[in-house]
Symmetry: C2
Subunit: 285 residues, 2 copies
């Protein structure tokens, strides 16, 4: 059965969910997106995603076509219409369709808002048990990685390189330090049991799951340092892991083919994953 | 009357020219574009644009859904169907619509090819007589600016900043030197009559009009140097100008509000513009 998507005020079959070829999301990557996980039919950490959405659109002076409250209503309506149990809701807002194709912002054009869902069993994903391989490559992205824009071609190329190497993620390196993964935040657990992840700034996306995991770790009296780390440090670490809205917490067991510790998901990663799953279920809306 | 656009094999009214919300051009900026000018119903320097299209798609391992010969046929058919005299043909190819929304390349998905036209009197544009203002700002783009991708958000923000300052273009600065404009190549004419424009490399797009103008200048025994220049050098220059497919050659008369020479289009710029217009008309197809 065809899924239902949302396009500018209407719920339509996904196969009919279309935007104009003049849409600035399609012509200029002039748009922002968010992906929220769904567990048991409920949205995970969604307030955090919507807060980031507001921040991102603000950074590119794009006015949302609906209120945040209405956007959340639409997300929930879409979950319901698709009878979605486990998966995610993707949403994208762009600066709309404008005939002039001027680079500068068009006037009097209503932004585009689209959403669709997909099914994924995040909690029981096989890779959560086995861990994943990552590769490393230079971070070739633009300067404003803190904006969650759809200008994702660099990440596409990075994750394709990972896929070709049999890895699930690419860690991007700048000035000798890891920035983040193509679609996830990067963490290590040092030999002295400090959880390390890069501090927020324009160099990385402020990950919602990253933020929640840092907060939860601190609440559990775990030591967290927000600072950049190198691949050498990651290879010498006790554990490594990634976080994202659609993988939660997932162990990294090899970097560029080299094992981290014994090459298996470590106890801290498993513990943080469980803490995050518990948090997700407890706070789902 | 509604214009006619081309979408994946069909000629359709522009108002009905749509792509799936799952299109990777819309979700990931995973696409390449070209814009060719039209004069008197004929395409300008189109072989150069199509050669660059082939190069760009090759750099991101995107297979064209049609041959270059067929793409040119479609361009010409579109010009004819729209009875276009003066303006441009926009074309975009993306990695197609795929339900998975995986960053890595999908398998078995046909790329999207769309085209549309717009009307513009390039030869008699008022700004060609008056010249334009440019502003300067940091170049915050990704590393692979030689790929003509639709990941254009940095250029959108740059040209919006220019528009807000009453300028028509933004010159982007990196390591103290001009890379290029938001949608054009940057040139100066030095005090000793040398035409200077930055050498090709990953730092700039290899402009088709830039390339033609350099070649034409050399054929006219004018001195050309391909090297980076600073804003100080530009401000001390005899003339400055930009080139692009849709402005041809256009004088820059002020940079950040400061006049170049007497603040009027100079004789060399006007001469190169005329040489380019003559070349365009003589070689149009």
């Amino acid at each position: 059965m065809d899924q239902i998507a949302y396009v500018n005020g209407s719920f339509v079959p996904l196969s009919e969910a279309k935007v104009s070829v003049l849409d600035r999301g399609f012509l200029f990557a002039d748009g922002i997106y968010e992906v929220a996980a769904v567990l048991d039919g409920k949205l995970i950490d969604n307030a955090s995603h919507l807060a980031r959405l507001e921040r991102s659109v603000g950074e590119i002076a794009l006015a949302l076509p609906e209120t945040i409250a209405r956007i959340e209503e639409i997300q929930k309506e879409l979950v319901k219409r698709n009878a979605l149990i486990n998966g995610m809701v993707y949403l994208e807002v762009t600066r709309g369709a404008d005939k002039s194709r001027d680079f500068a912002f068009p006037k009097g054009v209503k932004p585009t808002l689209i959403m669709f869902t997909s099914v994924k069993n995040i909690v029981d994903a096989p890779s959560a048990k086995t861990g994943i391989d990552v590769i490393t490559l230079p971070d070739i992205r633009w300067v404003r990685r803190d904006i969650k824009s759809v200008a994702l071609l660099a990440q596409v190329l990075a994750k394709q390189a990972a896929a070709e190497a049999g890895a699930a993620e690419a860690w991007m390196i700048e000035d000798g330090k890891v920035t983040e993964g193509g679609s996830s935040s990067a963490f290590i657990l040092t030999r002295d049991d400090v959880i390390v992840t890069r501090q927020n700034g324009s160099e990385i996306l402020p990950g919602c799951t990253r933020k929640a995991v840092v907060k939860l770790a601190e609440e559990h009296q775990l030591r967290v340092e927000e600072r950049a780390f190198s691949i050498d440090e990651a290879l010498a670490a006790k554990e490594a892991f990634i976080t994202s809205a659609t993988v939660f917490v997932q162990a990294v067991v090899r970097i560029d083919g080299k094992k981290i510790a014994d090459g298996k998901p470590g106890p801290m990663t498993n513990r943080l994953r469980q803490i995050y799953v518990d948090f997700a279920k407890a706070t789902a809306t």
